[in-house]
């Protein structure tokens, strides 16, 4: 019993140890719990594939043409079909651009207004020209474009 006053008492030591062990156990559950909750936000499998939209003959030069196609999408344990709507535009039947119909403002779907020659988004009056550039309204950037290739008569876009 040397200097019991200064050294750690048995009671204090046990109390301290309880806190440490309890803390480690709590952390041992909290950290995996956090990883478990946020996990799927960062584990979406990104795959790239070329998807055929349709024939080049459908596209009239000077007018954006709407193509729809379905792609398979894996969300959690469910595989479902997701519909993609893509506007294809060409001026010369050689160079094509493919634009998503999703407004760059807040994700509503734009539609082509033929007599005004503009894309219009009904949610907040966003307006884009035939190449997808912002004409007026709140959209912060032009319509997103897909990478396009033409093989024979078929138009393909790269979906990521």
């Amino acid at each position: 019993m040397v200097d019991e006053e200064k050294s750690l008492s048995r009671r204090a030591f046990l109390g301290f140890s309880t806190w440490i062990i309890g803390g480690i156990l709590a952390l041992g559950l909290f950290v995996p719990g956090l990883i478990y909750i946020v996990g799927p936000a960062f584990t979406q499998a990104k795959k790239e594939e070329w998807v055929r939209l349709g024939s080049t003959q459908k596209v009239e030069p000077g007018t954006p043409t709407l193509f729809t196609t379905t792609i398979e999408e894996q969300t959690g344990w469910i595989t479902n079909e997701k519909e993609l709507s893509v506007f294809v535009y060409t001026e010369n039947n050689r160079d094509y651009i493919a634009m998503s119909n999703i407004c760059t403002h807040l994700g509503c779907r734009v539609r082509w207004i033929a007599n005004q020659e503009e894309f219009f988004c009904p949610c907040h009056n966003g307006v884009f020209d035939k190449e997808g550039n912002v004409v007026s309204g709140p959209p912060p950037r032009p319509l997103d474009q897909y990478e396009v290739k033409v093989e024979g008569n078929s138009i393909y876009i790269k979906v990521t």
């Binding site: 559950l29 995996p32 719990g33 990883i35 478990y36 909750i37 996990g39 799927p40 584990t43 959690g76 344990w77 469910i78």
Partner: protein
């Protein structure tokens, strides 16, 4: 800093008195068997935390139950760990509360004035078994399905009222989506509420009355 905050709180709500009553109370000289109740509480906390986490992905319908459990186990990061803790914790829970009860019986700790503590403990044992029974169905695999066929059949064995009990437990003639949904509801709402309330009473009484000493030879 921490001392100042705890002093500030103590002058207002007097938490130190509560702390001393709960954690620094005087107990007789006892042995390790007296830790079984605390161990049950510890595992119960584990079950609550991991159970809440499992509901983030689990879907209690025949279409999705099995697939969502597989998703948790194989796809979600640390999902295997959370499910594993809940799975093994369930078995540990049953074993611990049972041993806890055996200790109380052998030491005669259920006697006056602790009868109410004992009675709430008996109900808590039934609640834990209820948790085990309802939770067993939720993965919706072959084992879950047939175990619940058998379990609900056993519930249907009493004469006269047996068939009615079976129908109520299954929510109909057959084991179905209704059965899965009600087992889930009971497992995550009814039983947890009952467990928390009764555990509260049980622990309150343990602290209020104090625990019994190890009986001496000849007592």
């Amino acid at each position: 800093m921490i001392t100042r905050i705890s002093d500030w709180l103590d002058t207002r709500i007097g938490w130190r008195q509560v702390w001393e009553t709960v954690f620094l109370r005087k107990v007789p000289k006892v042995n390790w068997l007296y830790t079984l109740g605390s161990a049950s509480v510890f595992v119960a906390i584990n079950q609550i935390v991991t159970g809440i986490l499992l509901t983030i992905y689990y879907v209690p319908t025949p279409d999705h139950a099995y697939d969502s459990v597989q998703y948790i186990t194989t796809q979600v990061p640390a999902g295997w760990l959370i499910r594993g803790l809940h799975h093994w914790g369930a078995s540990a829970m049953v074993v611990l509360v049972f041993l806890h009860m055996i200790r109380v019986i052998i030491y005669g700790a259920y006697k006056f004035p602790r009868e109410i503590t004992w009675m709430t403990g008996v109900i808590l044992l039934l609640i834990v078994i209820g948790f085990g029974f309802t939770g067993y169905l939720l993965p919706w695999d072959q084992k879950a399905y047939w175990a619940t066929i058998v379990g609900t059949k056993i519930a249907g064995t009493p004469p006269i009222i047996g068939d009615t009990i079976l129908r109520i437990v299954r929510g109909g003639e057959e084991l179905s989506a209704i059965t899965l949904a009600r087992f889930f509801g009971v497992h995550v709402w009814v039983l947890p509420v009952a467990l928390l309330v009764l555990t509260g009473i049980h622990i309150f009484l343990v602290i209020k009355i104090g625990i019994s000493a190890v009986p001496k030879r000849g007592e």
